[in-house]
Symmetry: C2
Subunit: 207 residues, 2 copies
Protein backbone atom coordinates (compact mmCIF):
# COMPACT_ATOMS: atom_id res chain seq x y z
CA UNK A 1 0.00 0.00 0.00
CA UNK A 2 1.40 3.36 -1.02
CA UNK A 3 -0.21 4.94 2.04
CA UNK A 4 1.82 2.84 4.42
CA UNK A 5 4.95 3.34 2.32
CA UNK A 6 4.69 7.06 2.75
CA UNK A 7 3.90 6.61 6.39
CA UNK A 8 7.00 4.61 7.26
CA UNK A 9 9.29 6.40 4.84
CA UNK A 10 8.16 9.73 6.24
CA UNK A 11 8.42 8.48 9.79
CA UNK A 12 11.99 7.43 9.08
CA UNK A 13 12.82 10.74 7.46
CA UNK A 14 11.37 12.77 10.32
CA UNK A 15 13.13 10.66 12.95
CA UNK A 16 16.38 10.90 11.04
CA UNK A 17 15.99 14.67 10.84
CA UNK A 18 15.51 14.98 14.58
CA UNK A 19 18.38 12.67 15.48
CA UNK A 20 20.82 14.15 12.94
CA UNK A 21 20.06 17.67 14.14
CA UNK A 22 20.63 16.69 17.74
CA UNK A 23 23.69 14.47 17.32
CA UNK A 24 25.17 15.41 13.96
CA UNK A 25 26.18 12.98 11.23
CA UNK A 26 29.04 11.42 13.22
CA UNK A 27 27.21 11.31 16.53
CA UNK A 28 23.96 9.86 15.19
CA UNK A 29 23.39 6.10 15.30
CA UNK A 30 21.21 4.20 12.87
CA UNK A 31 19.81 2.29 15.84
CA UNK A 32 18.79 5.58 17.49
CA UNK A 33 16.92 6.63 14.39
CA UNK A 34 15.20 3.25 14.14
CA UNK A 35 14.20 3.32 17.80
CA UNK A 36 12.97 6.87 17.44
CA UNK A 37 10.79 5.82 14.51
CA UNK A 38 9.66 2.68 16.32
CA UNK A 39 10.86 0.31 13.60
CA UNK A 40 13.54 -2.23 12.85
CA UNK A 41 16.97 -0.97 11.89
CA UNK A 42 16.91 -3.00 8.66
CA UNK A 43 14.01 -0.89 7.44
CA UNK A 44 16.27 2.15 7.35
CA UNK A 45 18.47 0.37 4.87
CA UNK A 46 15.47 -0.83 2.94
CA UNK A 47 14.27 2.73 2.25
CA UNK A 48 17.59 4.60 2.32
CA UNK A 49 20.39 2.27 1.37
CA UNK A 50 23.10 3.71 3.60
CA UNK A 51 23.52 6.17 6.45
CA UNK A 52 25.07 8.55 3.95
CA UNK A 53 22.04 8.41 1.68
CA UNK A 54 19.72 9.08 4.60
CA UNK A 55 21.87 11.93 5.86
CA UNK A 56 22.10 13.55 2.43
CA UNK A 57 18.33 13.50 2.07
CA UNK A 58 17.94 15.23 5.43
CA UNK A 59 20.76 17.68 4.78
CA UNK A 60 19.45 18.80 1.40
CA UNK A 61 15.96 19.31 2.78
CA UNK A 62 17.23 21.49 5.62
CA UNK A 63 19.65 23.48 3.49
CA UNK A 64 16.85 24.08 1.00
CA UNK A 65 14.48 25.34 3.70
CA UNK A 66 17.12 27.70 5.00
CA UNK A 67 17.98 29.20 1.61
CA UNK A 68 14.36 29.47 0.53
CA UNK A 69 13.88 32.05 3.28
CA UNK A 70 16.20 34.42 1.42
CA UNK A 71 14.26 34.21 -1.85
CA UNK A 72 11.24 36.46 -1.11
CA UNK A 73 13.60 39.38 -0.65
CA UNK A 74 14.20 39.35 -4.37
CA UNK A 75 10.61 39.58 -5.49
CA UNK A 76 8.55 41.22 -2.74
CA UNK A 77 7.24 44.53 -3.85
CA UNK A 78 8.74 46.49 -1.01
CA UNK A 79 11.18 49.33 -0.61
CA UNK A 80 14.75 48.38 0.26
CA UNK A 81 14.30 49.37 3.89
CA UNK A 82 11.09 47.40 4.13
CA UNK A 83 12.82 44.40 2.58
CA UNK A 84 15.49 44.52 5.25
CA UNK A 85 12.82 44.59 7.93
CA UNK A 86 10.94 41.82 6.15
CA UNK A 87 14.02 39.63 5.88
CA UNK A 88 14.99 39.79 9.55
CA UNK A 89 11.42 39.32 10.73
CA UNK A 90 10.83 36.27 8.54
CA UNK A 91 14.23 34.68 8.85
CA UNK A 92 14.49 35.01 12.61
CA UNK A 93 10.92 33.81 13.05
CA UNK A 94 11.73 30.74 10.98
CA UNK A 95 14.76 29.94 13.12
CA UNK A 96 12.71 30.57 16.25
CA UNK A 97 10.54 27.66 15.13
CA UNK A 98 13.57 25.56 14.09
CA UNK A 99 16.29 26.58 16.53
CA UNK A 100 18.50 23.59 15.80
CA UNK A 101 18.93 24.16 12.08
CA UNK A 102 21.61 26.90 11.98
CA UNK A 103 24.09 25.04 14.16
CA UNK A 104 23.41 21.78 12.35
CA UNK A 105 23.99 23.32 8.94
CA UNK A 106 27.11 25.27 9.85
CA UNK A 107 28.63 22.23 11.49
CA UNK A 108 27.96 19.79 8.68
CA UNK A 109 29.06 22.30 6.06
CA UNK A 110 32.39 22.68 7.78
CA UNK A 111 32.71 18.94 8.13
CA UNK A 112 32.11 18.46 4.42
CA UNK A 113 32.11 21.70 2.37
CA UNK A 114 31.63 19.83 -0.91
CA UNK A 115 28.09 18.89 0.07
CA UNK A 116 26.85 22.48 0.17
CA UNK A 117 28.82 23.63 -2.86
CA UNK A 118 26.82 21.23 -5.00
CA UNK A 119 23.63 23.03 -3.90
CA UNK A 120 25.09 26.51 -4.27
CA UNK A 121 26.07 25.73 -7.84
CA UNK A 122 22.37 25.83 -8.70
CA UNK A 123 22.02 29.46 -7.61
CA UNK A 124 22.51 32.19 -10.18
CA UNK A 125 24.11 34.85 -8.02
CA UNK A 126 24.54 37.33 -10.82
CA UNK A 127 20.87 37.16 -11.74
CA UNK A 128 19.95 37.91 -8.14
CA UNK A 129 22.10 41.01 -8.20
CA UNK A 130 20.56 42.16 -11.47
CA UNK A 131 17.07 41.69 -10.01
CA UNK A 132 17.97 43.71 -6.96
CA UNK A 133 19.56 46.41 -9.08
CA UNK A 134 16.54 46.67 -11.35
CA UNK A 135 14.14 46.92 -8.42
CA UNK A 136 16.09 49.43 -6.33
CA UNK A 137 18.40 51.34 -8.66
CA UNK A 138 17.86 54.71 -6.97
CA UNK A 139 17.96 53.41 -3.41
CA UNK A 140 21.18 51.48 -4.02
CA UNK A 141 22.80 54.63 -5.37
CA UNK A 142 21.50 56.65 -2.45
CA UNK A 143 22.87 54.15 0.09
CA UNK A 144 26.12 53.72 -1.81
CA UNK A 145 25.56 49.99 -2.29
CA UNK A 146 27.37 48.49 -5.27
CA UNK A 147 28.07 45.04 -6.64
CA UNK A 148 31.40 45.30 -4.84
CA UNK A 149 29.99 46.06 -1.39
CA UNK A 150 27.10 43.58 -1.57
CA UNK A 151 29.07 40.56 -0.25
CA UNK A 152 30.06 42.42 2.91
CA UNK A 153 26.55 43.73 3.42
CA UNK A 154 24.74 40.45 2.75
CA UNK A 155 27.08 38.35 4.86
CA UNK A 156 26.68 40.88 7.65
CA UNK A 157 22.91 40.53 7.52
CA UNK A 158 23.15 36.75 7.50
CA UNK A 159 25.58 36.95 10.41
CA UNK A 160 23.34 39.16 12.53
CA UNK A 161 20.39 36.87 11.87
CA UNK A 162 21.98 33.44 12.19
CA UNK A 163 24.73 33.88 14.77
CA UNK A 164 22.53 34.08 17.89
CA UNK A 165 21.11 30.65 17.12
CA UNK A 166 24.47 29.16 16.21
CA UNK A 167 26.02 30.52 19.40
CA UNK A 168 22.96 29.99 21.56
CA UNK A 169 24.87 27.99 24.17
CA UNK A 170 27.31 30.83 24.80
CA UNK A 171 24.72 33.59 24.76
CA UNK A 172 22.39 31.76 27.12
CA UNK A 173 25.30 31.25 29.50
CA UNK A 174 26.07 34.95 29.55
CA UNK A 175 22.44 36.05 29.58
CA UNK A 176 21.72 33.92 32.64
CA UNK A 177 23.96 36.18 34.69
CA UNK A 178 22.19 39.29 33.42
CA UNK A 179 18.68 37.96 33.97
CA UNK A 180 17.97 38.11 30.28
CA UNK A 181 15.74 35.55 28.62
CA UNK A 182 17.03 34.20 25.32
CA UNK A 183 13.59 34.18 23.71
CA UNK A 184 12.98 37.80 24.69
CA UNK A 185 16.36 38.70 23.24
CA UNK A 186 15.46 36.98 19.96
CA UNK A 187 12.06 38.65 19.78
CA UNK A 188 13.73 42.01 20.33
CA UNK A 189 16.32 41.19 17.72
CA UNK A 190 13.84 41.09 14.83
CA UNK A 191 13.52 44.87 14.89
CA UNK A 192 16.93 45.67 16.40
CA UNK A 193 18.71 43.94 13.53
CA UNK A 194 16.73 45.75 10.84
CA UNK A 195 17.15 49.15 12.52
CA UNK A 196 20.85 48.51 12.99
CA UNK A 197 21.49 47.69 9.35
CA UNK A 198 19.34 50.53 8.05
CA UNK A 199 21.12 53.03 10.26
CA UNK A 200 24.48 51.74 9.07
CA UNK A 201 23.70 52.06 5.37
CA UNK A 202 21.89 55.38 5.77
CA UNK A 203 25.03 56.91 7.15
CA UNK A 204 27.21 55.62 4.37
CA UNK A 205 27.50 58.71 2.18
CA UNK A 206 28.99 60.77 4.99
CA UNK A 207 32.09 58.61 5.41
Amino acid sequence: MTEKDKQTEEKIFESATEVFIEKGMDGARMQDIADHAGINKSLLHYYYRTKDHLFNAVFEMIAGQMFKKFAPVFDEKLSLEEKIKFFFREHITFMQKNPGLPAFLLNEINRNPARIKKLIRQIDVNKLWLTLEAQHKDELKKYNITKQTIPQLMSTMAAISVFPFAARGILEGIFEKMDINFNDYIEERKVFAADFVIKAIKNDSSS
Copy 2:
Protein backbone atom coordinates in the same frame (compact mmCIF):
# COMPACT_ATOMS: atom_id res chain seq x y z
CA MET B 1 63.29 13.22 32.08
CA THR B 2 60.98 16.16 32.44
CA GLU B 3 62.16 17.45 29.09
CA LYS B 4 60.93 14.36 27.29
CA ASP B 5 57.67 14.39 29.28
CA LYS B 6 56.83 17.85 28.08
CA GLN B 7 57.83 16.90 24.58
CA THR B 8 55.48 13.93 24.23
CA GLU B 9 52.67 15.42 26.27
CA GLU B 10 52.81 18.58 24.20
CA LYS B 11 53.09 16.60 20.99
CA ILE B 12 49.95 14.70 21.99
CA PHE B 13 48.12 17.87 22.91
CA GLU B 14 48.99 19.59 19.66
CA SER B 15 48.05 16.58 17.57
CA ALA B 16 44.80 16.21 19.46
CA THR B 17 44.04 19.88 18.87
CA GLU B 18 44.53 19.54 15.14
CA VAL B 19 42.52 16.35 14.80
CA PHE B 20 39.66 17.51 17.04
CA ILE B 21 39.37 20.78 15.13
CA GLU B 22 39.25 18.95 11.83
CA LYS B 23 36.98 16.05 12.76
CA GLY B 24 35.16 17.19 15.90
CA MET B 25 34.84 15.17 19.11
CA ASP B 26 32.65 12.45 17.57
CA GLY B 27 34.54 12.23 14.30
CA ALA B 28 38.03 12.13 15.80
CA ARG B 29 39.70 8.78 16.45
CA MET B 30 42.25 8.14 19.15
CA GLN B 31 44.28 6.17 16.61
CA ASP B 32 44.33 9.22 14.29
CA ILE B 33 45.69 11.38 17.07
CA ALA B 34 48.33 8.80 17.97
CA ASP B 35 49.41 8.43 14.34
CA HIS B 36 49.50 12.19 13.95
CA ALA B 37 51.80 12.45 16.97
CA GLY B 38 53.88 9.50 15.81
CA ILE B 39 53.33 7.48 18.99
CA ASN B 40 51.52 4.46 20.28
CA LYS B 41 47.83 4.80 21.08
CA SER B 42 48.39 3.61 24.64
CA LEU B 43 50.47 6.69 25.33
CA LEU B 44 47.40 8.85 24.85
CA HIS B 45 45.73 7.01 27.69
CA TYR B 46 48.87 7.21 29.75
CA TYR B 47 48.91 11.02 29.68
CA TYR B 48 45.19 11.74 29.31
CA ARG B 49 43.17 8.92 30.79
CA THR B 50 40.24 8.99 28.38
CA LYS B 51 39.23 10.58 25.10
CA ASP B 52 36.93 12.85 27.09
CA HIS B 53 39.80 14.09 29.28
CA LEU B 54 41.91 14.83 26.23
CA PHE B 55 39.07 16.58 24.47
CA ASN B 56 38.22 18.72 27.48
CA ALA B 57 41.82 19.88 27.75
CA VAL B 58 41.79 20.92 24.09
CA PHE B 59 38.36 22.50 24.29
CA GLU B 60 39.16 24.64 27.33
CA MET B 61 42.39 25.86 25.77
CA ILE B 62 40.64 26.93 22.58
CA ALA B 63 37.66 28.51 24.31
CA GLY B 64 40.07 30.41 26.54
CA GLN B 65 42.06 31.73 23.57
CA MET B 66 38.88 32.88 21.89
CA PHE B 67 37.51 34.72 24.90
CA LYS B 68 40.84 36.28 25.77
CA LYS B 69 40.65 38.24 22.54
CA PHE B 70 37.69 40.17 23.93
CA ALA B 71 39.50 41.24 27.08
CA PRO B 72 41.75 44.08 25.80
CA VAL B 73 38.65 46.02 24.80
CA PHE B 74 37.98 46.59 28.46
CA ASP B 75 41.31 48.12 29.38
CA GLU B 76 42.87 49.63 26.28
CA LYS B 77 43.10 53.37 26.62
CA LEU B 78 41.18 54.14 23.46
CA SER B 79 38.01 55.97 22.55
CA LEU B 80 34.92 53.86 22.04
CA GLU B 81 35.18 54.13 18.26
CA GLU B 82 38.83 53.21 18.35
CA LYS B 83 38.02 50.22 20.55
CA ILE B 84 35.52 48.98 18.01
CA LYS B 85 38.13 49.27 15.29
CA PHE B 86 40.69 47.61 17.56
CA PHE B 87 38.38 44.73 18.38
CA PHE B 88 37.54 43.81 14.79
CA ARG B 89 41.12 44.17 13.62
CA GLU B 90 42.51 41.98 16.40
CA HIS B 91 39.73 39.43 16.54
CA ILE B 92 39.51 38.85 12.80
CA THR B 93 43.30 38.70 12.51
CA PHE B 94 43.34 36.04 15.22
CA MET B 95 40.78 33.95 13.38
CA GLN B 96 42.65 34.47 10.12
CA LYS B 97 45.53 32.65 11.78
CA ASN B 98 43.23 30.02 13.33
CA PRO B 99 40.41 29.65 10.82
CA GLY B 100 39.16 26.38 12.23
CA LEU B 101 38.45 27.56 15.75
CA PRO B 102 35.08 29.33 15.35
CA ALA B 103 33.33 26.41 13.67
CA PHE B 104 34.89 23.95 16.11
CA LEU B 105 33.76 25.93 19.15
CA LEU B 106 30.23 26.63 17.94
CA ASN B 107 29.74 23.00 17.03
CA GLU B 108 31.01 21.51 20.26
CA ILE B 109 29.14 24.07 22.33
CA ASN B 110 25.90 23.07 20.68
CA ARG B 111 26.71 19.42 21.13
CA ASN B 112 27.29 19.93 24.84
CA PRO B 113 26.27 23.37 26.15
CA ALA B 114 27.17 22.47 29.73
CA ARG B 115 30.85 22.44 28.85
CA ILE B 116 31.00 26.12 27.97
CA LYS B 117 28.67 27.26 30.74
CA LYS B 118 31.21 26.06 33.29
CA LEU B 119 33.76 28.44 31.74
CA ILE B 120 31.35 31.34 31.40
CA ARG B 121 30.50 31.11 35.09
CA GLN B 122 33.99 32.46 35.79
CA ILE B 123 33.30 35.73 33.96
CA ASP B 124 31.93 38.66 35.92
CA VAL B 125 29.71 40.23 33.29
CA ASN B 126 28.48 43.01 35.51
CA LYS B 127 32.00 44.11 36.32
CA LEU B 128 32.77 44.33 32.62
CA TRP B 129 29.80 46.60 32.09
CA LEU B 130 30.84 48.83 35.01
CA THR B 131 34.34 49.10 33.57
CA LEU B 132 32.99 50.07 30.18
CA GLU B 133 30.61 52.57 31.73
CA ALA B 134 33.35 54.18 33.79
CA GLN B 135 35.66 54.50 30.80
CA HIS B 136 33.12 55.83 28.31
CA LYS B 137 30.27 57.43 30.24
CA ASP B 138 29.84 60.36 27.86
CA GLU B 139 30.25 58.36 24.66
CA LEU B 140 27.74 55.74 25.78
CA LYS B 141 25.21 58.48 26.48
CA LYS B 142 25.94 60.15 23.16
CA TYR B 143 25.47 56.87 21.25
CA ASN B 144 22.43 55.91 23.30
CA ILE B 145 24.04 52.70 24.55
CA THR B 146 22.67 51.39 27.84
CA LYS B 147 22.98 48.26 29.92
CA GLN B 148 19.77 47.14 28.20
CA THR B 149 21.02 47.53 24.63
CA ILE B 150 24.48 46.12 25.25
CA PRO B 151 23.55 42.46 24.65
CA GLN B 152 22.15 43.21 21.19
CA LEU B 153 25.13 45.37 20.31
CA MET B 154 27.81 43.00 21.60
CA SER B 155 26.26 39.90 20.06
CA THR B 156 25.99 41.78 16.78
CA MET B 157 29.68 42.59 16.87
CA ALA B 158 30.56 39.00 17.69
CA ALA B 159 28.28 37.85 14.88
CA ILE B 160 29.85 40.12 12.27
CA SER B 161 33.32 39.01 13.31
CA VAL B 162 32.81 35.27 13.77
CA PHE B 163 30.16 34.32 11.24
CA PRO B 164 32.29 34.51 8.08
CA PHE B 165 34.62 31.88 9.52
CA ALA B 166 31.82 29.70 10.84
CA ALA B 167 30.04 29.82 7.46
CA ARG B 168 33.19 29.79 5.38
CA GLY B 169 32.03 26.81 3.30
CA ILE B 170 28.89 28.61 2.18
CA LEU B 171 30.55 31.95 1.56
CA GLU B 172 33.38 30.42 -0.44
CA GLY B 173 30.85 28.60 -2.57
CA ILE B 174 29.01 31.81 -3.36
CA PHE B 175 32.15 33.90 -3.75
CA GLU B 176 33.57 31.48 -6.32
CA LYS B 177 30.83 32.48 -8.73
CA MET B 178 31.56 36.17 -8.19
CA ASP B 179 35.33 35.86 -8.56
CA ILE B 180 35.84 36.96 -5.00
CA ASN B 181 38.68 35.58 -2.92
CA PHE B 182 37.74 34.64 0.65
CA ASN B 183 40.98 35.98 2.09
CA ASP B 184 40.53 39.33 0.36
CA TYR B 185 36.99 39.49 1.70
CA ILE B 186 38.25 38.84 5.23
CA GLU B 187 41.00 41.44 4.95
CA GLU B 188 38.45 43.96 3.75
CA ARG B 189 36.10 43.00 6.56
CA LYS B 190 38.41 44.23 9.32
CA VAL B 191 37.61 47.83 8.45
CA PHE B 192 34.18 47.26 6.92
CA ALA B 193 32.89 45.73 10.15
CA ALA B 194 34.15 48.57 12.31
CA ASP B 195 32.80 51.25 9.97
CA PHE B 196 29.47 49.48 9.76
CA VAL B 197 28.99 49.29 13.52
CA ILE B 198 30.16 52.84 14.12
CA LYS B 199 27.80 54.18 11.49
CA ALA B 200 24.94 52.24 13.02
CA ILE B 201 25.44 53.55 16.54
CA LYS B 202 26.21 57.11 15.40
CA ASN B 203 22.80 57.33 13.84
CA ASP B 204 21.01 56.04 16.89
CA SER B 205 19.72 59.29 18.38
CA SER B 206 17.80 60.18 15.23
CA SER B 207 15.53 57.14 15.39
